[in-house]
């Protein structure tokens, strides 16, 4: 992939990462489990981006965290706060609308292309 295309793709994805992370935090997750969950869904996120992102979300009071020391090694669990759930739902709605609009645009484009062919 050319470096320009690469940077454009990264830019395109950047905005969606927060939404992707929020969507998986309705149940408590710790850092690495979240990585695995997202990977399973086919979403690749740099770990050096994810961990700082989690802390930022906590600072913005969208998620709360707690240390679980009952297992062999302590783990920090993150889960959506009430405010986080509310924000997530609004974001989700926003995303749906946006992607529908974009889809319409892209579809129109395809028809044009067909017309040329």
């Amino acid at each position: 992939m050319s470096s320009l295309l690469n940077s454009l793709t990264t830019e395109l994805r950047r905005g969606t990462l927060t939404l992707a992370v929020l969507s998986q935090l309705r149940k408590p997750q710790y850092g690495y489990s979240l990585v695995q969950l997202l990977e399973q869904a086919g979403i690749h996120i740099d770990q050096s981006t994810l961990y700082p992102l989690l802390r930022r979300l906590e600072k913005q009071e969208l998620v709360t965290s707690s240390w679980d020391t009952s297992e062999s090694r302590p783990r920090k669990y993150y889960v959506l706060s009430d405010f986080g759930v509310e924000t997530f739902l609004q974001l989700k709605k926003e995303w749906m609308e946006n992607s529908n609009q974009l889809l319409a645009l892209l579809k129109g484009d395809e028809e044009d292309e067909d017309g040329f062919n």
Binding site: G31, D46, Y51, R55, R73, R75
Partner: protein, 332 residues
Amino acid sequence: MDLIETYIQEVTRRLPEKNREDIALELRSTIEDMLPDDYQEEDVKAALEQLGNPAKLAYGYMDRPMHLIGPRYFDIYVSLLKMILPIAVTISLIATIATFITGYDGEEAVMNIVFEIIGFGISSIIEVGIQTFFWLTIVFAILERVDHSKGAEPITQGLQKWSADDLKNITYVPKKRAITKVEVFGGLFWTAIWGTVYFYADHLFGVYEGGSSELNFVTPAVNQDVLLQYWPFILAIIALEVGLSIYKLIKKQWTKGLAIYNTVLQVIVSVVFVWIVTNPNLFKNEFTVYMTNLFSITEVQLETWIIAGSIIIFIVSAVISIIDGIRKARAS
């Protein structure tokens, strides 16, 4: 050597003290999560490489900006720099030259002084430039870190958000009427030089004789006492000239008002000049005698030559300045 601990240290040393412990704990547990139960050094390396450069990770954790001056302040920073630098440099140059002229004791050759002034001038320009740049940058770097309003809009000189009304406060400057910064600061500079020369004329104007290694100051050309009788007028002219330069700086273009101001000023300056030069006691006797002997002409001839010559040169340059101002003010 424990790679994991070293990696964690590499991340946390870049972070604020209060967050270090918690982030270290979380990182350690995350890294262990990534490793198989019975891991080798190769596994650790692979896991750490997945986490990436510790500097990048650390900067991700930081709230502070990773730049000195961001897009919000950059525009106003550059504008201020462009405005303040020439002012600071001009003032320092004027100060340098004034110090040299006022400290001049008539012992040293003028050319040596000129070279010294150039040398000191260059070093003071560099020094003032660096100082201005340094302090302005520091102030904006601090502003960037203190301002948490999180606005992404660049702020302009009013320190407010931009609106179309802002355009009304900006005068449109056509090229033909524009006044350059060089013109403004050059004007100020010139005022400072002739002003200083006026008050120290007896040290500067006169007869120099070439000695074995340097020029010797034989006799001053003018009676400083006579010259200084005119000081209130000179001071008034200096004030008017400085006023003109500031007026130019504000207006940025020639206007009718500016052209009138310039015309009046040039006329006043010419009148005062003619008045001073035609004072019969202005030139020192020793000077006239020396010159008449040198060129074998009469005193009357000499004084006529000097007075007429300087008056003609002065008035011609005043007229050129007046016409230039009017022409530019009328250009569209």
